[in-house]
Amino acid sequence: MKSTLKQLLHSPKFMTGLITFLVVLILVIVYPFIVPGDPLERIGVGTFAKPGIYFSLYDSVTTQRETLKLSNADEKRMAAAVDEEDKAAMKELIKKTETAYDGDLDDTVFLIEVWEENYDAMMQTKMKSADKKYYQRIQKRLEALKSADNMLVYDEDSEDSKTTITKTDYVRTGAVANVKVLPLGTENFGRDMLKELLAAAGTSLKIGLLAGIVATLLGLFFGLLSGYLGGWVDEVIMFITTMFTVIPGFVLLILISYSLGQEARGPMIIAVVIGLTSWTWTARSVRSQVISLRNRDHVNLSKISGHSLARIILTDILPYIASYVVMAFILQVSSGILAEAQLSLLGLGPKTTTTPTLGLMMNWAMNYSAHTNGSWWAYFPVIFIIAAITFSLNQMNTGMDQVFNPALRD
């Protein structure tokens, strides 16, 4: 036992898996303490706010200011004001007039510098008047930004309390009263994506765990029964398990989840249903292990000594297949998490308004077309965390496989 553990700790695969898994687990457990609050609180009114640091514009007006004179502040301001279409037009003009430049035009600040320097010369060339007007409009907008005067902010009630903001005014983010860090932005309901994601990962882990426990217990029970007793019990159980390897478990899952109805489908009920539809292959592999053990000497000795069935199974069989069962359990957990996600994507996931799951988050993102409107932060992290969890579990499984089954060792 001790040496096996030691071997496991030296298996690079097992350790990568274990560490990845622990990292996810620790994040799930610790993050709510760092950023407390309800993970489903809708803080954003709009949908899909981009990831970043948000600070209150209102508060920043009254925050104490410093004057900083930065050399290319104007160019940056202008760069932020031109859109992709304008940039493409500007690049085209520079290329068309064969203006010399030294740098990367994809860098917007540089593009604007080149544009500013050569604008007058470039406008001398012949072009359609519509084009000319278009370029002039761009230039006018840029000029306006460059020469823009100070800004005045008034109090809505009294015009006396006005604040002047100059272009060289800066406030420190830390000094602004209200700052919200949204590392992954907000999702379609305006919730803090990262917070919800980690809460969802927690629920999904629980779902996977429960599904794995149900599947492994059932699989172990029927596998032991069928392998040890043999005879008609074996035949009946084998008939059922063979059938369910052909009839997709996914189909059963859909049928049962749909039949349950929306109200009854809590996350944990879904987990049990997943477990109920996936125990068969554990049963099959346990059975084949038990069959190879059934006629070993130590088992026969126990039988002759008149030990009870329960005792033989507990002391003479279970310890020998324990490592195998643990491996099967790990795989069941990982496929349980995936099954929940797939089910949710078909609209048959847990019906709940109080707990998010990874599958539900994915489903929400898809319903609000996050995948076609470019809001990558609303679905990519979900995929990543699902992949990380299943990857870690599968790595642990392969690592164990290599320790227990030397033929596979690298």
Partner: protein, 336 residues
């Protein structure tokens, strides 16, 4: 065909029929076993918050009649089976008064044309990569294995969305959704076919990608297992050329992979169906999603039945192929 083969295929065929029967029974029974009255919940869903009780009652009677829920369970089952044989799968709720069989007919073609080639291509590519990884081990193995390990852990819908994001949204080289341009009407023009091919790429490759990873890992460990087997050592000892040994190893490692394909079909089909939703591909997966969101019970039940039937038929075909390539089944025909 010899007696041994006939026995083998006969057995497989009987098994197919028995499984199909149980699949139909489950498809029939599961929704009816639930404590709630399916017709009542359907009527509630369709009627919504409306308080018109006479309309609800009328609707209830109509659907109770159509499902036969007012008759004993066994009679219901016979009606169900009889309808199945006539290709009658009921009437859709959400696309009333379209027949369910009609909807299924249009969507199943897309699913078959997408899934089967993709699964086969993925299986072949995966096996070749896995075998090469096992044989070369050093270097190549170190690159291919971790990569396919990670890819195989990205869920099916995940790789579909990632491909969609890269190729359709960012690079704009592939269409975002559908099986053909939305303004087109299916016909046999060159323009339509090329549009279909364009829309085919992303869903196809995302399903291929899903199956490659898992297959490569399986094939690699099978091949390593075989390469360490006694017969390989013995053949080496006898001085048989490496190329010939690799041939044996590949074949022996291949056989479980055929069974593996049959076994994994049930699980991979789930992921592939979900991938259809990502690309709004008009196959069974998208149909089922639509049916679930609109609580279209007859359509859901028809979809699950079709999926089961598809998996069963492919499994039967694989069993037949297996019978021809496995030397042990071949040997059995000489015994008989």
């Amino acid at each position: 065909m010899s007696k041994g083969y006939r026995k083998y295929f006969g057995k497989k065929l009987i098994w197919f029929v028995v499984t199909l029967f149980f699949a139909v029974v489950l498809n029939f029974l599961l929704p009816r076993l639930m404590p709630s009255d399916p017709v009542a919940s359907i009527v509630n869903k369709v009627i919504g918050s409306s308080t018109d009780t006479t309309a609800a009652q009328e609707m209830y009677n109509h659907f109770a009649e159509e499902f036969g829920t007012n008759k004993p369970l066994i009679t219901q089952f016979f009606i169900y089976v009889k309808n199945l044989f006539q290709g009658n799968l009921g009437t859709s709720f959400s696309q009333y008064p379209r027949k369910v069989s009609d909807i299924i007919k249009t969507s199943i073609g897309w699913t078959l044309a997408l899934q089967i080639p993709a699964i086969i291509v993925g299986w072949i590519l995966g096996n070749v990569l896995g075998a090469v990884a096992a044989y070369i081990r050093k270097g190549w193995d170190k690159v291919v294995m971790p990569v396919s390990m990670f890819i195989s852990n990205i869920p099916a819908f995940g790789s579909a969305i990632i491909l969609l994001y890269i190729f359709a949204i960012k690079l704009k080289v592939a269409p975002v959704a559908g099986a053909y341009s939305y303004e087109m009407i299916p016909n046999f023009s060159w323009k339509f076919i090329s549009s279909v091919i364009q829309h085919y790429q992303l869903p196809f490759w995302s399903i291929v990608l899903i199956s490659i990873g898992g297959q490569a890992i399986g094939m690699r460990s099978m091949s390593i297992y075989e390469l360490n087997a006694d017969y390989v050592k013995y053949s080496r000892f006898l001085g048989i050329r490496d190329k010939k040994i690799v041939g044996y190893v590949f074949r022996n490692a291949m056989l479980p992979q055929v069974t593996g394909l049959a076994m994994s079909l049930g699980t991979s089909i789930g992921g592939a169906l979900v991938a259809e939703r990502v690309f709004s591909y008009p196959g069974l997966g998208s149909t089922m999603f639509g049916a679930v969101t609109s609580a279209d019970y007859p359509l859901i039940s028809a979809c699950t039945l079709m999926i089961t039937l598809m998996v069963l038929i492919v499994t039967l075909l694989l069993d037949v192929i297996y019978g021809f390539i496995d030397p042990r089944v071949k040997a059995a025909q000489f015994d008989a």
